[in-house]
Symmetry: C2
C-alpha cells in the first residue's frame, strides 16, 4: 500500500513518522517531495490548491475534525470517500475549555480579573449554578461529550442540533423551529457547529438578540460563523456580558484586530481542542487498516451536509 | 427564648429579619441597640472587643465556618459551647472556584490571558488531565466536597489532613509524616485548612519547595497561612508557575500591595465561598431549635483544636 502524506503544519515529518510506525507494511511519500507516483490513499491537512490535480486516491483521510477547507477545493475528486478524525483527545479538551468558561462566567471571574488591574477589592453577588444554563449548539460527537460533562458538573444543560438528538439529562431542541426556545433561556451559548454554507454567519445580531440580557458567548466551532460587528454591538450595548473566542475568521488573529483589546472579549489561539498527534495518528492508522481490509470505517463525510 | 444578634456586616438587620422569620417564637435583640438584658443564645459574626463582657449565653452560634477571630477574644466565656456554620452553600461555591482554577491552570488559560495583552497568537503544548494532580490540604466537610467534585471531573486528586481521612478515589495522606509524599506529586496545591496557631504561616518556603517545579498554589483557607515573601520568591525563581489567592493577611488587600500587580498572581476578593444569607439563617435557626430542645447539634467547636 502506498500513502501520500501532506500536512500544512510545521511538524509534518514528525507526524508522518508516528503514522509510519503504526503502519509498518505501508510505503509513505511526503508531499511535495514525492513525485507523481500513484498512491492508494492520501492523508492530508489543509492541502494547498493543486494538491489533487491529476491524482486519484481510493480514500482521503483528513487529519482534523473539520473538512470545510478541504471541501472548497474545486479539484477534490468528486467520488472519493473522505474520512475525518473523530475525537482523538479533542472531546476531553473541549470539555475542559467549556467547563472553564462556564465556571468562570458563573462566578464573575472575568470581572474580578478586570478589577485586579485597578486594585479593586469588591465582592459581587453570588449566583447559584442551577440558574446558569449552558446551551450547546451542535450535538455531534464533541457537542454531546461537552453537554454530558457540564451536566455531570451540576449545570443545567440544553442543546440544539439541526436534526433531533437525545441526551440524558439535557433538554434538546432541533431545527429552525426549536432555535428560539433554545436561545431564550441560555445564559452561556457555546457554538460547536461545523462550518457549512448554512452556518456561516450564524452567530449574528438576530440570533444573539434572542439570548437573555447579560448572556455570554463561547465560540469554538469556526471563525466564519461569527459576524464580528454584530458581536461588538451586542457587547457594547450590554446585551452580552462577555465572549470567549477560540476561532477567528482569520487565523492567526491580526495584531491590530479589535478583539485583542476589547475588555469583554477573551481570545485564545485556537486551542480549545489541539490535535494530540500520537492519538490522531493511531486513529488514522486504524482507519486506513480497516479501509484496506474492506471493513466499514467511521467518520465518513457526507458532502451534501458538508461534514 | 431571647436571642442577641450581632453582625459586623452592613446588612445585619436584613440577616436578623431572615432568622426571625425562621424562629417566630423567639425574641430578638440587635446588638448594640439591645441593652443589658439576659439572652439565651448569641448569634454573632466577628464580634468587636467587649461584646462578651458581663454576658452569659447558653450557646454561641457563629455565622461563618471560621472561628479563628472569635476564639481570640479573651472575654469569650470559657465553657459556653460554640457552633459554627456548616456548608450552607459554601461547598458548592468552593467546588466551582477550585475547579475553575484547576481547568484554567491545566489549559494554560492564565498564559493565554497574558498573551492577549500583547496580541500574541501562540499555542502552548497541551497536557493531559490525568497528569495534572490536585492536592487538597484540609479534608473537613468543605475539603471533602471539593476533592470529590474534582475527582468526578476526571482529575487525579490527593488529600492531606492532620488526622486520617478516607475518600473514595482520592489518595489520602495524614499528619507530619505524610506531608512530603503528598506534596511531591501535587501539581496544584489547594489550601483549605482552618486557621490555628499550627497552620499560621504553613504556606512557607520549606513547604512550597516540596511541590514539583511549575506547580500552582490556590489559597482559600485564611490569609495568615501564607508567608507572602516566600510566595513571591517561589514565583520569581520559577519554582511556582502561578498562584490564585482569595484570602489575604489583611482584607481588603491594600491597593499598593505587590499581589495586585504580580503577573503570576490572581487576586479575588474573598469570594471563593460567599455566605448565602438565606441558607445560612435557615441552618442557624435549625441549630438553635435543636439546641433549645436539648438535641445534639453538629458544628460544635473543639477549642483545643481551634476549629
Amino acid at each position: 500500500m502506498k500513502v501520500l502524506f501532506q500536512s500544512a503544519d510545521a511538524d509534518a515529518q514528525a507526524s508522518l513518522d508516528l503514522l509510519a510506525r503504526q503502519l509498518p507494511q505501508a510505503h509513505f511519500d511526503l508531499w511535495p517531495q514525492a513525485g507523481g507516483e500513484a498512491h492508494d490513499v492520501a492523508v492530508c491537512w489543509k492541502p494547498p490548491p493543486g494538491f489533487f490535480r491529476g491524482r486519484r486516491f481510493r480514500a482521503i483521510f483528513n487529519m482534523g475534525a473539520g473538512v470545510d477547507a478541504l471541501l472548497q477545493d474545486p479539484e477534490l475528486p468528486a467520488a472519493t470517500p473522505i474520512f475525518r478524525l473523530e475525537d482523538a483527545g479533542m472531546a476531553e479538551q473541549m470539555e475542559e475549555y467549556v467547563a472553564w468558561a462556564a465556571l468562570g462566567y458563573l462566578r464573575n471571574m472575568d470581572v474580578y480579573v478586570r478589577q485586579q488591574e485597578r486594585a479593586e477589592w469588591k465582592q459581587l453577588d453570588p449566583r447559584p449554578r442551577e440558574n446558569f444554563s449552558i446551551g450547546i449548539m451542535g450535538l455531534g460527537l464533541l457537542g454531546q461529550r461537552v453537554a454530558r460533562y457540564l451536566h455531570a458538573m451540576g449545570f443545567p444543560v440544553r442543546g440544539w442540533n439541526r436534526s433531533e438528538r437525545g441526551i440524558d439529562g439535557v433538554t434538546c431542541y432541533a431545527g429552525e423551529a426549536g432555535l428560539s426556545k433554545f436561545l431564550t433561556d441560555t445564559q452561556m451559548l457555546v457554538c460547536m457547529l461545523p462550518l457549512t454554507p448554512e452556518t456561516q454567519g450564524v452567530l449574528n445580531a438576530a440570533l444573539l438578540a434572542q439570548l437573555p440580557r447579560g448572556a455570554y458567548l463561547v465560540s469554538i466551532g469556526r471563525g466564519l460563523q461569527l459576524v464580528e460587528a454584530d458581536l461588538l454591538d451586542m457587547l457594547d450595548s450590554g446585551h452580552l456580558a462577555g465572549a470567549l473566542l477560540d476561532v477567528m475568521p482569520q487565523e492567526p488573529l491580526p495584531a491590530d484586530h479589535a478583539f485583542w483589546r476589547h475588555p469583554l472579549i477573551t481570545v485564545t489561539p485556537h486551542i480549545s481542542a489541539q490535535t494530540l498527534m500520537e492519538a490522531s495518528m493511531r486513529q488514522i492508522a486504524e482507519k486506513i487498516d480497516a479501509f484496506m481490509r474492506g471493513e466499514s470505517v467511521s467518520g465518513l463525510i457526507d458532502r451534501n451536509k458538508g461534514y
